[in-house]
């Protein structure tokens, strides 16, 4: 077990050691918000769509988040960790799954997402994943972020960077793609996008006056002069409206944790209309080999954090959510059977959450492979019956990039 995780520890250490780019932002314009902010839209049309990708790193347990409440094999495989069915008489109400349909429930800490599912804004995809069978975090993440079936496939650049390169936007905002993370995710590698862990990093040094640079860059039709103008325009907008002072709309209140704050910054950038098209957010801490817990515990807390952040973002965006899509993904799920450490080891299929514009929600999309021993794969994993690139392709189409899909996901 320890050995299996070394790669991931390395990954986290690398992430911690490397400072860098992280937030991909694209422009969203809410006319109401603009008027509140006193912002003019000019980088992209105000109705331009935006994609927010949340990557849960470490292997999020889809069977924990979206338990198959009608599958007896689930309860046999996880005597300690299983989430009780909604109608179970053996657990307190607070410890039972929330009912999604006859087949699936939602982890009780994810209650904030339930209304979104019931209203049809949220879709859940189950038994989803890649063809990577190494059970290595790094290999599996690498495959997904590069948009490949498995990590042995050749492409080295990220799927989002292939989209960005395949679909040139003019003018291009310096904040078209923003990673709101410490380091640039591999999905944006090869795109010259930057990581901005904190939007306040997008500030011009006080050594320069904005007006002086604006005078220098007022003329000039070469690409870098034009890029300078775009950058100065974004700086002026962000200067006028301090991210730290940003007040969410519709009574939304973001929690203080980094994940919620990343969503808050994404909302700000979308409303500031600075040309954001893609925002990437990361959340670590899903590698639940030990003491995973059930209705409470480490993973429960993580799931609650995700549900609250996403739901708050949805509330903040209000009607503008129709031009925003949020995709929540992970590199793989966990082994079906719990281990001796009251946790779960690396598996295959997991769950994805897709929320926002154009989503046919209110359903758990899946071809359920079953959890009986003969239905499992490799050391006892949930089979992958839906390729993770299906929902990602839909997201690219939502952005208006349907014609780039062959480049974004070659061989798919």
């Amino acid at each position: 077990m320890k050995q299996a995780c070394d790669g991931f520890i390395d990954y986290e250490r690398r992430a911690a050691l490397r400072l860098g780019a992280g937030v991909a932002l694209s422009a969203l314009g809410l006319s109401k918000c603009f008027s509140q902010l006193g912002l003019q839209s000019d980088a992209r049309p105000t109705e331009a769509p935006v994609l927010v990708v949340l990557f849960l790193r470490g292997g999020m347990d889809g069977l924990h988040a979206v338990p198959p409440i009608a599958d007896d094999a689930y309860y046999r495989a996880r005597p300690t960790l299983a989430i009780a069915a909604p109608q179970s008489g053996k657990a307190a109400v607070a410890d039972r799954a929330l009912r999604l349909n006859d087949q699936f429930g939602l982890h009780p800490t994810m209650a904030a997402m339930l209304p979104l599912f019931e209203s049809g804004e949220l879709e859940i995809i189950h038994a989803v994943g890649s063809q990577d069978r190494t059970h290595s975090h790094f290999e599996a993440m690498s495959a997904m972020e590069r948009g490949m079936a498995a990590n042995s496939d050749a492409a080295q650049d990220g799927w989002l960077s292939r989209y960005i390169r395949a679909r040139e936007l003019k003018p291009t905002s310096p904040l078209r793609a923003v990673a709101l993370t410490q380091t640039l995710p591999a999905s944006l590698s090869g795109s010259n996008s930057v990581a901005l862990e904190d939007l306040s990093q997008f500030r011009l040094s006080e050594q320069f006056r904005l007006e002086a640079l604006s005078a220098l860059y007022a003329q000039g039709d070469d690409p870098l002069a034009a890029a300078g103008r775009e950058t100065l325009s974004a700086l002026r907008k962000l200067n006028r409206f301090d991210p730290k002072q940003y007040q969410p709309d519709h009574g939304a209140h973001y929690e203080a944790n980094e994940l919620a704050q990343a969503f808050r910054q994404a909302a700000f950038l979308i409303k500031a209309n600075v040309g954001l098209e893609i925002a990437c957010i990361d959340e670590l801490g899903w590698d639940s080999h030990v003491a995973q817990g059930n209705s409470t515990g480490i993973t429960a807390g993580q799931l609650g954090k995700v549900a609250n952040a996403v739901a708050t973002f949805n509330q903040d965006m209000g009607k503008e959510m129709s031009r925003v899509r949020v995709v929540v993904m992970t590199e793989f799920g966990r082994r079906v059977a719990e281990n001796n450490g009251l946790g779960t080891d690396h598996g295959r299929g997991s769950a994805m959450f897709v929320l926002g514009g154009g989503v046919k929600g209110g359903q758990v999309r899946c071809e359920w492979p079953g959890l009986e021993p003969h239905q499992l794969e490799d050391p006892g994993d949930l089979k992958v019956t839906t390729d993770y690139r299906t929902p990602l392709s839909e997201a690219i189409t939502f952005l208006g990039g349907g014609e780039t899909l062959k480049q974004v996901f070659p061989n798919f």
Partner: protein, 476 residues
């Protein structure tokens, strides 16, 4: 043996900072440039010469060029035998990836190794006495790009940098391709190390033809890729202690010994390691390769891959059987350079040219973070084609460029320094002198830059910073 000007100045600077005592901490300081008595705007030929044949002038380079003339300068650039400053040499010698074997290096944390490799790149580029060599090292490092995040390539890239890129940057192209094909870093990066008979891995063979030699429209077929991949089966890395580490080895057991047909040539059965060498000879001196390289060199030196000179450069390549100096010679023409299109500075060009312009020096450590902010962290381009050349690829880097200049002028980049009092003394608070020094042009009354510079009073540091932040300094 007479000491060169650089050596004399280098020793002077070193003695002044107490560096001759060999103190490691002080070894990061190795300013070696004296400012000329007077700043004059170089003519357009000299300006282009210094910006294109290297990473831009240091103070005094223009005066030296005027004194020596282009012909002498060209021969010195091609000979690349100017002595390096003692300080830079000492600083580079401290970097382990250049001096330690991979197996020993592997006991170091890979982030440490990565940082040292980046430091080496930046020290070479800013302080290297042979600037055409440094320009070409950057060119070939991208041409034979290796993404060192993959696997354990940080441990292998230092050897590749020294023995493939730097060793052959101004040598012979066939030798460089051969060295690259056998470089453990490349063998691992493009998966050839895992290529065995029956299951040839096409990755290296494809990039060899598509990127390293013929070019994507160079006339090879998928069949050529598959056949070339068979030729390279068994080219792998020797195993020690059950791990793949160590040197190149040809493993006959893994090699497909059958006959092959590549690029219109029969390669008879039983050739062994010779099969791969035959592919390299066929590909490296192919007319398509000459044209492909000529296009890339014209883009690098003349700002236009379709420049009419492309034919002549390709011919020089073929006539000389891949001699890189002979190939570059037709491009080293001051009139041609002066008349060519501007070339966008990639972040590396921008950062290095700025440090050089100040007569500054760097240990490359904290400075690298600024490159990363601009989207060009060294050795981290994930694709085998190297960092993009076009200006459009770098439109996201402007804010980071300005903030880098601001930090450097304020002395806020640890390990990167320049002599502020010397700068004040030489530029004397005169905005015109800063324009001449940084942009190599005469200031025009009423132009926006001059208007803004005048608002900054007589602060030469601020003048220089604004000149470097201007649109003009983004081009070379």
């Amino acid at each position: 043996m007479a000491l060169s000007r650089r050596q004399v100045l280098g020793y002077g600077a070193l003695a002044g900072s107490g560096l001759l005592a060999g103190c490691g901490r002080l070894a990061t300081r190795y300013a070696e440039t004296s400012w000329p008595a007077q700043s004059a705007a170089p003519d357009s030929q000299a300006k282009r010469w210094m910006n294109r044949t290297g990473f831009g002038p240091r103070p005094g380079d223009y005066e030296l060029l005027v004194k020596e003339g282009f012909d002498v300068s060209r021969e010195k650039l091609l000979a690349a035998s100017e002595p390096e400053s003692i300080a830079a040499t000492l600083a580079l010698r401290r970097l382990e990836p250049y001096s330690t074997s991979e197996s020993e290096l592997e006991s170091e944390p890979y982030n440490f190794v990565a940082e040292q490799l980046r430091q080496g790149y930046l020290i070479h580029a800013t302080s290297g006495s042979n600037q055409l060599l440094e320009r070409m090292v950057d060119f070939w490092s991208n041409h034979f790009n290796i993404y060192f995040i993959k696997a354990n390539l940080r441990y292998r890239k230092g050897t590749d940098e020294m023995q493939v890129i730097r060793q052959h940057a101004l040598g012979n192209f066939v030798d460089m391709v051969t060295a690259s094909a056998k470089s453990p870093a490349m063998l691992e990066y493009l998966d050839n190390a895992a290529s065995v008979k029956g299951h040839p891995n096409e990755n290296y063979a494809r990039e060899l033809l598509e990127l390293h030699t013929l070019g994507v429209h160079g006339g090879y077929t998928q069949q050529d890729v598959m056949e070339a991949a068979r030729c390279f089966t068994g080219w792998t890395i020797e195993k020690r202690f059950l791990h793949r580490r160590g040197e190149f080895m040809f493993d006959a057991e893994r090699h497909d010994s059958g006959a092959k047909f590549v690029l219109g040539h029969h390669i008879p059965a039983g050739g062994g390691e010779e099969d791969g060498l035959a592919v390299i000879r066929l590909a490296a001196l192919h007319p398509s390769t000459a044209d492909h390289l000529a296009g890339k060199l014209c883009a690098c030196f003349l700002g236009d891959s379709s420049h009419p000179m492309r034919t002549q450069v390709a011919k020089a390549f073929l006539d000389s059987k891949g001699d890189i100096k002979a190939t570059l010679r037709p491009l080293l023409d001051p009139r041609l350079l002066a008349q060519s299109k501007p070339v966008a500075k990639r972040p590396l060009d921008y950062v290095v040219s700025a440090v050089r312009c100040l007569g500054g020096s760097t240990d490359g450590a904290a400075l690298h973070q600024h490159l990363a902010n601009m989207g060009q962290p060294l050795y981290e381009w994930p694709l085998p084609d190297g960092y993009p050349v076009s200006a459009e690829a770098w439109t996201g880097s402007m804010l980071a460029r300005w903030n880098f200049v601001a930090a450097m002028m304020a002395g806020e980049i640890k390990g990167t320094q320049f002599d502020k009092s010397e700068l004040h003394l030489r530029l004397g608070g005169d905005p015109g002198k800063s324009v001449r020094h940084v942009l190599g042009k005469e200031p025009q009354p009423g132009e926006p830059l001059v208007v803004e510079l005048e608002k900054l009073g007589s602060d030469s540091v601020a003048h220089v910073g604004l000149c470097m932040a201007s649109p003009e300094f983004q081009w070379r």
